[in-house]
Amino acid sequence: MPTANQITTVPVVVDNDKCIADKGCRTCIDVCPLDVLWIDEKTGKAHMRYDECWYCMPCEADCPTDAVTVNIPYLLR
């Protein structure tokens, strides 16, 4: 099937220097209601894989290292 490549600005941003997903942390991934945060296989860090965010903030509030920032999706800003 053809895939059209488009870049997307995503609301949830993870600071790789602070994220400890590579040490086994799964907090933000566990709490996301929409299951849009996954491990990036290249870096071992959490990242937003699907642009399906309710900007509800458990990922940011529960992150033990303050690595996650939830921005308002561009379409709403």
């Binding site: 099937m1 996301c32 209601p33 903030m57 308002i72 709403l76």
Partner: protein, 577 residues
């Protein structure tokens, strides 16, 4: 071809589907009533942060507290706010158990605002009575529920989407088929009783921003329960009485009534003038909101700029830390400041939600649906205007009754061929190598809902909308998912389509206008009590077709005074001449 022996089957006494608000309470209550029963809570996300209250709740909207309100008065108010079409016994049952539930939650560590004398600090927001109780520490409510689940040893299964309910030869519910959302395993949970607590159907309409997940409701609440109940043969009720909410423009947070109202904020038009008597959310209030938007006085605003600094700080403290805490960030981005200017408001997309309106899976005062062994609670079930506290009360009722039902039943037999055919259907999008991506399917579907189904409702538009939606049913066999996550979305999108079809069918059936904007039917502009003072029940008929029928309103247990009946019709502020 898969055999049934390839499918994992889990046996349980009581299965609760949905771990948001009503669901945890149902599971806890079932275990409290019978600690020996096995109880499973199945959740599509993670019960720690799921459902409408994932980040907490800023208050109780409908607390019936002795000294401030009586169950009879509350039942009257909700009857009037719903233009008389209510199962009063169901509302009264809630109202009588409301205070007991507040005390239970208080004992569990939920903090409710109290005044200087230690009494609950109840505020007036509704048109007639006083029922609003702030929860300034409401952000911790999910943690408190989670502790209770653990303490009562409820089996919690996260990241499963329930997709179809099962029933036995006698027509009683016998469990569900569920999809693991991260690895696409299909499993069967065989249960003696099932409680559906899947929340509102909040993904039927498209938010004006066009962002699929910018819905008022938590978008995980896409109508899974409504669709499952329909397919297993349960009746749904009042689906033409849409949920439509007044929100901030482009931001899905509620704006006014419960938090800012008691502190002096109000809904205003472009001139800064009040135009509605009462900001409590009702169809009539939404009608006035809509009229103002369409008029030369629009758009509509949340007005706080007349308030004192400390009042605004208090409002910000509540609104920016609870329920929808990204609101402050939204305002910062726009340069909005409650102190200096009014904030633009707008009307939300349509949905089904008994928490705010009256639409949902039909349940009676025992939480029973029309299918034996199947119970329903919370935003999904038909008890009107029940909000969070109603979800807790009916969660408790359902949990207690379901565990009792399960006690008298042996493990039901399973329908092998149904399970196997459903497994194939559920997984089909993953087997294809080409087709329609779920998000495109869903975007188109919800755009059609906005174009044709949202009020003002017009027969010709509804006809076209229904036809276009039925055309989309043929696209289901082309849905294509590349991974388990996309498969989840593909299955959700099919439930959204079911809900859209139900919204159209029920709306066309009720040939009158009622509930203000919720069922504003242009071809039938008047309320017609002679023919339509009844519930509209939607169900699957013997030919597997969607059908509607009338259900008489049960005789009232609390009579209304003539003058009270029209209290909610007089929403617009009358100009002094």
């Amino acid at each position: 071809m898969t055999q049934l022996s390839d499918i994992k089957i889990k046996d349980i006494d009581v299965l609760v589907i949905g771990g948001g608000t009503a669901g945890p309470m149902a599971a806890i209550s079932a275990k409290e009533k019978d600690p020996n029963a096995s109880v499973m809570l199945l959740e599509k996300a993670n019960v720690k942060r799921s459902g409408a209250i994932s980040m907490g709740m800023d208050g109780l909207n409908n607390a019936v507290i002795p000294g401030h309100a009586t169950p009879e008065q509350y039942t009257k108010e909700i009857t009037i706010a719903n233009d008389g079409i209510v199962l009063q016994k169901g509302v009264l049952e809630y109202a009588e158990r409301s205070f007991g539930m507040i005390q239970k939650l208080d004992n569990w560590g939920v903090y409710f605002q109290k005044d200087e004398t230690g009494e609950y600090d109840v505020k007036k927001v509704h048109h007639l009575g006083t029922y609003v109780l702030p929860m300034p520490e409401g952000h911790n409510i999910k943690k408190i529920l989670y502790r209770r689940l653990r303490r009562n040893r409820v089996v919690v299964e996260n990241r499963y989407q329930a997709i179809r309910l099962l029933k036995d030869d006698d027509g009683a519910v016998s469990g569900c088929i569920a999809l693991a959302t991260r690895d696409a395993e299909v499993i069967v949970i065989r249960a003696k009783a099932v409680v559906l607590c899947t929340g509102a159907a909040g993904r039927i309409g498209l938010p004006a921003s066009g962002y699929l997940y910018g819905t008022y409701e938590n978008p995980t609440n896409c109508g899974d329960g409504h669709s499952m109940a329909y397919h297993v043969g349960a009746e749904l009720s009042g689906l033409e009485c849409y949920q439509i909410n007044p929100l901030l423009k482009d931001y899905n947070g509620p704006a006014c009534a419960y938090v800012t109202g008691p502190l002096g904020g109000y809904t205003a038009n472009a001139n800064g003038d009040r135009f509605i008597e009462c900001d409590y959310w009702s169809g009539q209030m939404m009608m006035e909101f809509y009229n103002e938007l369409q008029s030369g006085n629009g758009p509509v605003f949340l007005k706080l700029d007349h308030l004192a600094e400390e009042t605004i700080e208090e409002i910000e403290q509540v609104l920016h830390t609870n329920e929808r805490p990204s609101r402050g960030r939204f305002h910062d981005g726009r340069g909005n400041n409650y102190r200096t200017k009014m904030v633009e408001m707008h009307i939300s997309e349509i949905g089904f939600c008994a928490g705010h309106s009256a639409s949902g899976v039909w349940v009676n005062e025992k939480g029973e649906t029309t299918v034996s062994g199947l119970y329903g609670a919370g935003d999904m079930a038909s008890i009107p205007h029940s909000y969070m506290l109603g979800a807790f009360v009916y969660g408790e009722i359902c949990g207690q009754n379901a565990v009792e039902f399960a006690k008298n039943r042996s493990l039901p037999a399973l329908d092998d061929s149904f399970i196997l055919s459903q497994k194939e259907r559920i997984l089909a999008p993953l087997q294809r190598e080409d087709g329609i991506p779920p998000h495109q399917f869903e975007y188109k579907l919800r755009r059609l809902v906005n174009d044709y189904l949202q009020p003002p409702k017009i027969t010709k538009k509804m006809d076209i909308g229904l036809q276009r939606l039925k055309d989309m049913e043929r696209d289901i066999e082309f849905l294509y998912a590349r991974d388990p996550h996309e498969l989840l979305r593909a299955n959700e999108a099919q439930h959204v389509l079911d809900c859209a079809l139900m919204a159209a069918q029920a709306s066309m059936y009720r040939q009158e206008s009622r509930w203000g904007l919720y069922h504003h039917f242009v071809d039938h502009p008047e309320t017609n009590n002679e023919d339509w003072f009844c519930h509209v029940q939607l169900y699957k008929d013997d030919n597997d077709q969607m059908a509607c029928k009338k259900r008489p309103v049960d005789p009232y247990v609390i009579e209304l005074d003539e003058e009270e009946k029209t209290a909610y019709q007089k929403m617009r502020i009358q100009k002094v001449s």
